[in-house]
Symmetry: D2
Subunit: 439 residues, 4 copies
Amino acid sequence: MGLYSDLFYSAEAESLLAERATLTRMLQAEAALALAQSKAGIIPDSAASIISACCTIDYFDIKRLKSEMHLGGNAAIPMVSQLIRTVKNNDFEASKYVHLGATSQDIVDTALVLAIKDFTVWLEERTDQLLDRLKVLTVAHRSTVMIGRTLLQQAKPITFGLKTSAWLQTILDSKERLAESKKRVLQIQLSGAVGSGSQFLNEKVRAEFGLNLGLENRAPWQTSRGNLVEWLSNLSILTSELGKIAKDISLLMQTEIGEVFEGAASGKGGSTTMPHKRNPVTCSLMIANAHRVPHLLASVMSGMMQEHERSAGLWHAEWEPAEQLMRLAAGSLEKSIQLIENLEVDQERMLQNLEVTQGLIYAENISLLLSARMGKGNAHEWVEKACKLALKEKKHLKKIVEESTVEIEQLDDLFNPLNSIGQSIQLIDQILKRYEDQL
Amino acid sequence: MGLYSDLFYSAEAESLLAERATLTRMLQAEAALALAQSKAGIIPDSAASIISACCTIDYFDIKRLKSEMHLGGNAAIPMVSQLIRTVKNNDFEASKYVHLGATSQDIVDTALVLAIKDFTVWLEERTDQLLDRLKVLTVAHRSTVMIGRTLLQQAKPITFGLKTSAWLQTILDSKERLAESKKRVLQIQLSGAVGSGSQFLNEKVRAEFGLNLGLENRAPWQTSRGNLVEWLSNLSILTSELGKIAKDISLLMQTEIGEVFEGAASGKGGSTTMPHKRNPVTCSLMIANAHRVPHLLASVMSGMMQEHERSAGLWHAEWEPAEQLMRLAAGSLEKSIQLIENLEVDQERMLQNLEVTQGLIYAENISLLLSARMGKGNAHEWVEKACKLALKEKKHLKKIVEESTVEIEQLDDLFNPLNSIGQSIQLIDQILKRYEDQL
Amino acid sequence: MGLYSDLFYSAEAESLLAERATLTRMLQAEAALALAQSKAGIIPDSAASIISACCTIDYFDIKRLKSEMHLGGNAAIPMVSQLIRTVKNNDFEASKYVHLGATSQDIVDTALVLAIKDFTVWLEERTDQLLDRLKVLTVAHRSTVMIGRTLLQQAKPITFGLKTSAWLQTILDSKERLAESKKRVLQIQLSGAVGSGSQFLNEKVRAEFGLNLGLENRAPWQTSRGNLVEWLSNLSILTSELGKIAKDISLLMQTEIGEVFEGAASGKGGSTTMPHKRNPVTCSLMIANAHRVPHLLASVMSGMMQEHERSAGLWHAEWEPAEQLMRLAAGSLEKSIQLIENLEVDQERMLQNLEVTQGLIYAENISLLLSARMGKGNAHEWVEKACKLALKEKKHLKKIVEESTVEIEQLDDLFNPLNSIGQSIQLIDQILKRYEDQL
Amino acid sequence: MGLYSDLFYSAEAESLLAERATLTRMLQAEAALALAQSKAGIIPDSAASIISACCTIDYFDIKRLKSEMHLGGNAAIPMVSQLIRTVKNNDFEASKYVHLGATSQDIVDTALVLAIKDFTVWLEERTDQLLDRLKVLTVAHRSTVMIGRTLLQQAKPITFGLKTSAWLQTILDSKERLAESKKRVLQIQLSGAVGSGSQFLNEKVRAEFGLNLGLENRAPWQTSRGNLVEWLSNLSILTSELGKIAKDISLLMQTEIGEVFEGAASGKGGSTTMPHKRNPVTCSLMIANAHRVPHLLASVMSGMMQEHERSAGLWHAEWEPAEQLMRLAAGSLEKSIQLIENLEVDQERMLQNLEVTQGLIYAENISLLLSARMGKGNAHEWVEKACKLALKEKKHLKKIVEESTVEIEQLDDLFNPLNSIGQSIQLIDQILKRYEDQL
């Protein structure tokens, strides 16, 4: 799958989406169709058995199949040809019942849905692993103070757990929304040449086909791609949320900040000529993946205006981007688990960075205290002056206050980050509770 | 709102999204905050009353507000300045409690959610109208035979109702998915400078704030944009589905096809020098809108990697595209109702077009019949020859069959489109049932 | 390269962009660097010879290289490791001079530019072939009348040559703009870890490196991706123009229109159960490709805000989409040559379709003639009435005019399409001249 | 133009692109057409004079024009109606010659090109201003040492001038490429209903029309949008390059880095409760704009597959995104001039940041020196150990070396950033020379 097969992707997910796996699922659909038609009394049981037995990828010449694809413009046509040939070799009569009443899109679309079904099992398991790692990280750093940053500027203290609880929350949301869209996307597509079904594809056959494959049987959706796009969009959102985590970590890894690091692995992210470097290699890959998915989604979504009962081109344009989006999402998810599991947090550096502004981040604390004494306006003015003096003389604000005429008891408390984290703990606990509740 | 304000958009939705409406909602958030803080015993009731009373758009100098926006980079900063000034003029003491503990993003994001809330009410009502029109159209044309088309080629007969039931179905899906995502997006954003809340923004305040505004109170989502993107994506999908309807109609309106037409309005879509033209004007606009939304969505989604506790740029990049997406969706939805309501269907032309291939679309019917007699292979071969002869001699296939040695009783039945529409009626009825069930 | 390797793509271009070809070009860059450094007196000639000799893809373990890529996040790091090992096995001393002073991005970016260089040679040759085919088609159909269509409605007559000359013109424009952007993109990237060059990468080395590789030596462009994006954009435009050709042909192939067809190949585009179908298979694939490229371009372009001296993620996000864009462009170009070469034009059907409106497309001709007699307003009114009558009575407009009181000599001339093609011939000839001039 | 009219945009460019300006340019096209037709002897001179005189925006009811636009789906149809009415009021005879032979698209497209022409004049002037500011900045900081950063990690020293010279270079490239694409886009569109021209739009008329408007007269391009898309793409690239500058500055403004700042303006970017903040407000807006343009471009580019002689929807989809792209580009360009002009550079902080790693960024210098003495392998190993010791003992690397057994004369030179900037000065001077050469 190209030069970067081991870089951006997940080996496990790649195996689910490989060429062979796709063709296997198409054959699974053909087999399910034959069995459904025999159950419905439309074709002989014996024919269904033989067809089903022939739906084995090992009997197929994949290279030839690929080389013939351009004649009809999709993978089902040459696959059905080979299947008929194989069945004929076993039982001429049975060969008449191969792919009976179905159209290429029935097979290709159903195989895509089956891929989504397999992928979803993997995805859900991995998402739960990630959630668990994020929970552990959040619990561990519930009270680890650090500076909060807005517009890339130091703002006010938070705890690292508050940051990670926000990450946790986004993955919980993702899980919820992927579960909801799953029920809409996991549907069979089986409605023949123009989506009308036929005597060979009646309701009984459709129902059995769905049962055989573990898929819902709602209405045909040949040129109604909304449910597919919805699911892909939710997958893109998950990937983007993982990208946000990676973005934050890559920024925290900056040499001048140095608060959080990807776990060190032998030979990873380092540079022999620049021994101080700790490159955010995994984060970069997750950012790259997150950067790409919205465009793949736009590619698929902007192809929704599919003409009539089958599109000339827009259907074809879906195949690779839809799969590519899944591959990138899987890559990011797999990487994120390792990333969170092995994350190194430098609490000491976090404390040091809280001192970079020499106390200015606590100015509001003094302002609030003095407001009670001298009125809000005066307090504000006094503190503003003190801050300017601190900046000018490059002194710590606490020192400036101490040297001033205003007397403040327990001044240390005002400059203690733990007293400035607002409702961080309560907010974290709410999210942790939500995590527990959904288990 | 520019030269095309009356072209692509809905006047009703425009009024919901106008500059003045946006600012009004920001003031609504400020008022709700003050009231919540008084309820929680944090600020005096009298102050809350005065602040709340001052949160009236008429007191504001919008032009000035806009011109000062570049200093802080958002609309909340100059709005709060003006609000403080107004409150001060009424009660100096109360002015200290304006916007207490809140950050610009709290106000801007909450106002956006309130816009979505208002928009959703409008959208749901209009969606139900469209669903009703689509239902009526589907019922009316349940048995109206026409040719189904794949890859822009005539394929096999369907009914027009099957086509419109597929449209109906996509809007039902859209309604379902927008309802699900609504619950995730309609949340307050209120968590102060770094998302940690504070003594002024404690859980009590957050809860009251949500109650005041009719919004959920979950966790802060300053740099967790997934729920917003999800809802926008679902709105894009709706717009794309409307685009698919418009695309189909525009293709059916082609001079050489002429089966379905936008309702004629005086002066609409015609051309004085080309009297035969019946331009798909409304469809073109709906196609244009559908063409644009996926890119607006990609713009917002690709901005999800927002840094730390507030982004330097990606948050700002959201504002216009998110609103523009809503405006285009509304425009398409409003247009679609008129379009479907006034659609003209030429059943006679549909019948004529079924004859364009001179019977070739019924070839399979003969093939199936003969299979029983002479075996599938022979039948197939025989029909293929007959078709070639028909094409060569430019004769109707029925004629060729009649002139052949093969005798077929009730040949007319095989060439009757109503006998070739598969399960169209059953599939339509299932969707109509789903429509009824959700009412 | 996946299930669709033979479907959307060009085998020739695939071989240029294959994994092995990419690595070969990276080695070519390493060899060119060593030779340039020896020429500049920085490393021993003998070392350069040995290094250069070792830069042979056959000596490399590609599988291992790929599996180690995630450690450093790019292909150059494990490649250089293997190269050092290979050189060491031959000459320990020489191994010290491998990749001297260079950074991974120097090698990866230069290899990308070399790929563009090779690709461009192929592209230019193929573009000239396409231009030739389009010229031949245009000359052949300079006077072949057909209906021009706007908003999918019949409008007024043109010639088929006018349509194809517009296609020809877009490819001429593309050729021009790709040639212009080529000079900006075909530059070496060689500037070391932070883009500053070094004693090992001085101006002499850079100049020799460029000479060795046949590339320009301008300034480093590590995080200045504009020239690359420009070239990719121009390639996207070419692909989109090819998509426009395919779109037009697919519409002309509609059963109800049937004016132009993809050349028939055995087994291509047909359907056994629907013998009348002539699916636009090649057009669908070209439309699919054109549909995808703008999103790949957006993916790359939106990654241009690369941080500092090398990006954490945005550089990585470029690799696959940039290459994928090239692959799709090549696929479309190759397909287009066959498509145009084998295009079947049904002039008779074109003439028949000119009669679909029963003369209404000529209404303006009558209007113009009568204007001279009875004034523009009256003429217009008279013709409008006549058209309405024709529509109402389903009669040919000529018949209506003949039956009216107005006498028109040479009425046939007014209803002759060849008299209604405006300046088609002159416009065609201008474009043909432009074609000849650029040869 | 909405709530953010003063935020993301340029007031000067807004006035060029305002509704009124657009309609004025459409009237300019109508006037030029009449004058061209009189020059070509097709319409009376007097009629042309009157028509031309009536092409004055003040005579038009814009509100009505907008409200009628949905009937025909574009702005030209209601505009021509009003124009005819106005001319009629002056001279009934002349009114017959309004818009003679032209189609709506001729007027709308030509007006767009005229907008691009006006916009280009503004753009080129502003680009030259920006280039000048970047040149001044580069010259000033040719030797200002700072750390170069890759993957957001400190790497090796560069000069700030090297960074700004790379910015300068990208704008030079942009200027070059916009100039080249300008010649292709500044063309008239005048070819009537189906692009074939007519007796009223012959070559003479087309030529005069072009002369009147200062535009090239090549072939019609109704559904050949490549040249327009090319120019828009180049404008997007410019905006993205400006975004890269803003991204770099926003990162350098981080509290923990603090090397470069947006110029302080009263009330700009500050926070009363967080006095230490220096928000990158202008950078955020430029990043936001750069973030949005690739999606607007994708929107336009993916609409290139326009059907036949005029598209049903894709043409319409172009209007707003094309203009919006221009507006965002102008906003960023204008902001960038101020940004660069007022940039504050803290050279002292740059020097301090060079010490953050305690000398590790100079490790390679020692390694290179020792290689000559003890061989590359041994040198490398020795330095690696020293670095590890420095990290472990939190000592400066120079100290570690001093305390070691290895004796190095002029050790200070090895730890002097000015000795580690490679070819920075030479590379800067090459770009400055290129700047001077193009003046």
